[in-house]
């Protein structure tokens, strides 16, 4: 309703509107005079502390953190600002899956020209390859979310279950648990959570997308591996051996705490949040590698994690590059990012591989050392080839997969529908699509 009337208002008030005008007038309190001001859009907890530290140790650069919304909210704003060619930040936090979308619209500065190779050895190879395309590097990796099996050890031993090493053992364990206790399910599988499902598909060797820059895009939700994945979970859903509560919903937390779920296929950043959302089973949770498609394999998948990008249009690409390099690959920064407030799981190898990090304990898992398992998982992930159509894919996913939770359609059916929807969309966007 505002749009039509807006021009009338704006015409007369353009002079009074200037005080809040956008731009990189970031120099605020706490910055040295003459420092280069950088605007940084980010939303994760603890980023403010890291920025503060950077500003203290780099008097020539002054970074101002602005929370322009989380995830998709920020991407929409960023794409609006890029279209308006005004109000774009110098640096933006972008999740791994969204980087190709910005890459293809030519919105990111190639960082390889700013001496990033010196820190390449410090970054988990999978994270590095997620943000690179040939010799070009479009983002600085920050944190990761490798998957592991996080299970309730008390419930496992009470029902005489052993920790499954393969998915077929996992299904057998699910049978056994459900037979022993009809109210218990082995885990939760949220069909509507695209990122959760895609991480599991990646781990299963069934990642549905293939993309390596340009306009060629592979979409495959109906191949052999993908169909096997879908049938595997649908079978467990049918037998009520997994629940389908929404990720992070109250139902999920109370299922984990009441024993209705005996395990969680958890990303590395999961246990900290889970710890503050449950109470009866604190101390009972242990970590094991995620089950494999075949015995002897050792593959994990990645759920979540962010990068920092330098946005085209910045007048200070060099300084911005220096900042993102420090942010993702310095001991100073990671001391804060892996701390209590931020709780990010590092893609920064010196920390990831350190004994101090790997032997850390959490009340939720007693004296066990979850980071050891997660750190190993982080080294055993394939690079997901995210397609540059993830915004549309995530939006469409929610409605296409809702029926699986409700029980009105099966997972293989939803995969088939989604395949068609994505192929149609990608073709309309001008991609040459390969199926299967």
């Amino acid at each position: 309703m505002a749009a039509v009337l807006l021009s009338a208002c704006a015409g007369t008030d353009s002079t009074s509107a200037s005080p809040g005008a956008s731009g990189s007038q970031a120099a605020g309190a706490g910055c040295a005079a003459g420092a280069t001001a950088l605007t940084f859009w980010g939303w994760s907890a603890g980023y403010d502390l890291a920025v503060k530290k950077f500003n203290q140790t780099h008097p020539d650069i002054c970074v101002k953190l602005e929370n322009a919304g989380a995830a998709n909210d920020e991407y929409v704003k960023l794409s609006d600002a890029l279209k308006a060619n005004s109000g774009t930040p110098d640096v933006a936090q972008i999740e791994y899956f969204e980087v190709p979308s910005l890459e293809i619209t030519n919105s990111l500065v190639d960082l390889s020209q700013y001496g990033m190779s010196s820190v390449k050895k410090d970054i988990a190879p999978v994270a590095w390859s997620l943000v690179s395309q040939g010799s070009k590097q479009y983002a600085m990796p920050v944190d990761l979310g490798p998957l592991a099996l996080y299970y309730n050890a008390k419930e496992f031993s009470a029902n005489k279950l052993s920790v499954p090493a393969t998915w077929s053992e996992f299904a057998a364990t699910a049978d056994k648990l459900h037979a022993a206790d009809p109210k218990a399910s082995i885990t939760n599988f949220d069909p509507v959570s695209a990122q959760d499902v895609l991480a599991l598909m990646q781990q299963y060797g069934a990642f549905p997308f293939s993309y390596s820059g340009g306009d060629k895009l592979g979409i495959n939700f109906t191949g052999t591996a993908q169909t096997a994945f879908a049938s595997f979970w649908q079978n467990l859903i049918d037998k009520k051996e997994v629940t389908t509560a929404a990720d992070f919903s109250p139902a999920q937390w109370s299922n984990l705490d009441s024993g209705a779920n005996a395990s969680r296929l958890s990303p590395a950043w999961g246990p900290v949040g889970m710890q503050s959302s449950i109470k009866k089973t604190i101390g009972d949770w242990r970590t094991a590698p995620i089950p494999q498609t075949e015995a002897g394999k050792n593959l994990s998948g990645n759920w979540g994690g962010s990068t920092l990008t330098v946005v085209k249009g910045t007048g200070h690409a060099k300084e911005a590059a220096e900042f993102v390099k420090w942010f993702g690959a310095s001991a100073d920064s990671w001391k804060i990012l892996s701390g209590k407030v931020a709780g990010a799981f590092p893609g920064y190898l010196p920390l990831l591989n350190s004994t101090g990090f790997q032997s850390a304990t959490l009340p939720i898992s007693g004296t066990s050392k979850p980071n050891k398992v997660f750190a190993e998982a982080a080294q055993n992930m394939d690079t997901a080839q995210w397609p540059p159509i993830m915004t549309a894919a995530l939006t469409q996913w929610t409605s296409t997969f809702a029926g699986v939770t409700k029980g009105t359609e099966t997972l293989p059916e939803a995969f088939k529908t989604f395949q068609q929807q994505m192929v149609t969309y990608a073709k309309a966007q001008g991609f040459t699509v390969t199926e299967g």
């Binding site: 809040g20 939303w43 907890a45 602005e66 109370s254 705490d257």
Partner: protein, 310 residues
Amino acid sequence: MRSPIKSRQERAAARGPADTVPIHLYGLRRGTVTVLTLISGAFAVFILAPVLWLVINATKTQANVYGTPGFWFARPFHLFQNLSALGRNVSGAGIYLQWLGNTLVYAGSAAVGATVLSAMAGYGFARFRFRGANGLFYLVMSTLLVPITSVALPLFLVYAKVGLVNSVWGMILPSMVSPVGIYLMRTYIDASVPRDLIDAARMDGASETRIFLRIVLPLTVPGLVTVLLLTVVAVWNNYFLPLIIFSRNGLYPLTVGLSSLSHAAETGSKAELVPVLIAGGLVTILPLILLFLFLEKYFRGGALQGSTTG
């Protein structure tokens, strides 16, 4: 949601004999009244239960929010910790109290502005004949039909051009224009300000400004309060406009702020944000409830007056 029978007695006590009409004279039977009462009772529960849930869960810790019955209290009593977290940047998304302050400023100034503009425009449409009056009025009304989501991008581009992105004016100026307010004021003035009165004032030599300020406005106080309240509520709950135009959390109103807090709480790689979010939700609705209680008599008087004299 009081029962009609009770409220009849109450009104009788309060206003004297005029309202003491027995229910059956309205053509209502006792059974009908009971059914209607039950239905409105059910609606009351439906509306009030979430508020009750907010009140109860604002006193809990995060584990208790998930692990204990939603409609009863649990130890430890965490209300004050949750409330005090509203004054700090607990999520990295910004400070709740700052968002509350912003919302008060946006809603307050937009509501006053919208009331003044609606009164002036409504008076103009109701009591002056000029060329294009009808067309202009329909143009104003037609803006109600444009869903704001469909104009998001052009809106942003225009805002970027005129420097309203990340500006408080970008929030306040468009909120001051209320098509519904103009419509309401036009109807209200039509019904409650007699043409003869204005003509008489003109005859006596009163200026147009004086007529508007001293005659029209005092006669339309209930209408003005209605527009004021409606605008406060609309701006208070506006999510989309601030979401588009603000990229600094220091400028966020409560809606956008709470949503970013909710995102931080949901993915929960961090401390206990869920009860803070709930406490924030509770504090968010309190000012509106207070405002309604405070202005209720004007509001109700307005609705009645419109219905009897129109």
